[in-house]
Amino acid sequence: MRSYKEVFSELKGAALIPFFVIGDPDFDTSVTTVKRAIDSGADILELGIPFSDPIADGPTIQKADIRAQQAGINMQRALAFIRQIKQYRDIPIGLLMYYNLVYQYGPEKFFREFHEAGVNSVLVADLNIDDADEIFAPARQAGLDTVFMVTPNTSQERMKQIASKTTGFIYAVSLLGVTGSREELSDTVNGLVKKMKALANVPVCVGFGISKPEHAAVLAQGGADGVIIGSKIVSIIEENLDSHEKIYSNIRVFVKEVKAAIAK
């Protein structure tokens, strides 16, 4: 199974990491959409399992969660989804989700089964490092990387703690706020990346608010090791619900544009 380490050491530019909600707008369309993103240059995938109360997400991903839930996505379907993607391509996958789903499934069983299906890491949006003990040991035991977030208001002291507990990569949140496309890139993000890179010995990837190839280019030039694009990707699905072909072609075009913008 391909690791984050392999991807980052082989890449010349920054890694392109699109985010999808598993099963948005339905299982089969979602599988094809993700495959098109892989074909177009995605280096790593971030996948979300839909939750009823996604407090870290803005309206775009909230609606995707509802579509996926209505399409019947549950843990079993999510496992099947990941297996299908891994059969198509051995690409590293990070899950981004909420704690109650992990807790109800049982952390040990959850990490074991999703690792077996091909997942490299699990980032739990509503678990910060202080409460992370509940997942840390079972995740490591299952062979998963533990990815944590840093935000623009994280203190130096907490940054150090986060750096010491993180494997795989650090998820740097570009702004104060929930997920969602923004017109402008936050002007403090490059400083955050620089500060974090000085403390961590794993790559630092940036997410939240990134909606344009130009944003990605600025981040890559500023030293980010990867660029995570969620709401913009999900909005391409949302805007083309009447035509799945348009979803596939627009995702392909957008991913290629971003890839070109961050390649060295």
């Binding site: 109360d53 407090i55 109650n100 949006a125 509503d126 202080d130 977030m149 994280t154 706020g177």
Partner: protein, 393 residues
């Protein structure tokens, strides 16, 4: 964080990293000020002159006669704003002032916490935003107008069923983006640490007063203390005064909605299992996979799928008992108190009355029960008319 914020295995602070600095700041400020002489003096003055404490402990003779036991009502409904919520908003509002904050946000279900926040927003000159679900805005429109009259902005929340849970979701999202200068004035004894502890502290005046008044008026402690439980702030407030009195039964009454069997209710302690929502581990109404269920109750203030962590511990240890009352019985109790005493209870508080009505036959006539009448029912007249047209005709 200095403390873990755990009540047994419940509570904690299951929140995204971005909210941690604000929760740490709140925890630090709370422990710095809650026993500070200047803070306590100012708060007590406000609780007296502005809110109207102490509230009476009233012997409801005619209601008691109908039930065949002795019922005392702790009249939190007489407080300014019409509910116990002002105890907490004055406390947290003063804390915000001591911290130098100028912007407040709050969630609200029935609008009582929103109103109590809007009131102190005006009192302290804060810029106040209240998040409220669209369903609740419709069914509690009087409170919406009151909040606006106090100068607060009411932000409608459309997600989910447009009730309390959705309002909290959006308030948390807003806080995430404005966390550096905004104080989140949480209304119930749930959510992430330190809120359950902070809210319990500011509501504990109910329990302290009630215990003292019982000794003065009855000459002994009551046999039972009954309170409604949504998130659980009025209940933990009154229970906290009696936790050490092992002979006093503590009974929390949750929203039974259309009945537990129908699945249309909001009784998380009675029918939920442990989960994590809104930063706290607690009994939660959820499906097999952990998706949070939609709740239903005639009372907007109890329409919430989780519950405060301390109640979860009190349930597990058996120190408090938790039961539910169905909408129909609640409306009967609302009518009975109105007709027998001329006191319109909030539909939330009517759950506690409904419980007593349902067990009256099994209780001996010399039993003394204290009911926390946490709010008044003016806001609910429209709802009662809709469900029971005959009652107001």
């Amino acid at each position: 964080m200095k403390y873990k914020g755990k009540f047994g295995e419940y509570g904690g602070f299951y929140v995204p990293e971005v909210l941690m600095p604000a929760l740490e700041e709140l925890e630090e400020a709370f422990y710095k000020y809650y026993q500070d002489k200047e803070f306590v003096t100012q708060l007590n003055k406000l609780l007296g002159d502005y809110a109207g404490r102490p509230t009476p402990l009233y012997y409801a003779a005619r209601f008691s006669e109908r039930l065949g036991l002795k019922v005392f009502l702790k009249r939190e409904d007489l407080l300014h704003g019409g509910a116990h919520k002002v105890n907490n908003t004055l406390g947290q509002g003063l804390l915000a002032k001591f911290m130098g904050k100028t912007k407040l946000i709050a969630e609200t279900g029935a609008g009582q916490h929103g109103l109590a926040t809007a009131m102190i927003g005006a009192l302290f000159g804060f810029d106040t935003k209240i998040f409220m679900g669209t369903t609740d805005i419709e069914r509690q429109s009087v409170n919406v107008h009151k909040m606006k009259l106090c100068g607060a902005e009411v932000i409608p929340v459309e997600g989910g069923t447009g009730t309390l849970k959705d309002a909290i979701n959006d308030a948390l999202r807003y806080w995430t983006a404005n966390v550096t200068d905004t104080f989140y004035l949480f209304g119930s004894a749930c959510g992430p640490h330190p809120y359950p502890t902070v809210v319990r502290h500011f509501q504990s005046c109910i329990g302290k007063e009630t215990r003292r008044q019982c000794l003065e008026k009855i000459g002994s402690l009551p046999d039972m203390v009954v309170a409604c439980v949504g998130g659980g702030s009025n209940a933990i407030g009154i229970f906290s005064g009696f936790l050490g009195d092992k002979d006093v039964r503590l009974i929390g009454v949750e929203a039974g909605g259309e009945g537990i069997k129908t699945g249309k209710h909001a009784a998380s302690l009675v029918a939920g299992r442990i989960g994590v929502l809104h930063g706290s581990k607690a009994y939660l109404l959820q499906d097999e996979q952990g998706q949070v269920l939609e709740t239903e109750s005639v009372s907007a203030g109890l329409d919430y799928p989780a519950v405060g962590p301390e109640h979860c511990l009190l349930k597990d240890t058996g120190r408090a008992e938790y039961v539910e009352a169905d909408d129909d019985d609640v409306l009967d109790a609302f009518e009975l108190l109105s007709k027998s005493e001329g006191i319109l209870p909030a539909l939330e508080s009517a759950h506690a009355l409904a419980y007593l009505c349902s067990v009256k036959e099994s209780l001996s006539p010399d039993i003394t029960a204290v009911v926390n009448l946490s709010g008044r029912g003016d806001k609910d007249v429209g709802i009662v008319e809709k469900y029971r047209p005959v009652m107001t005709k």
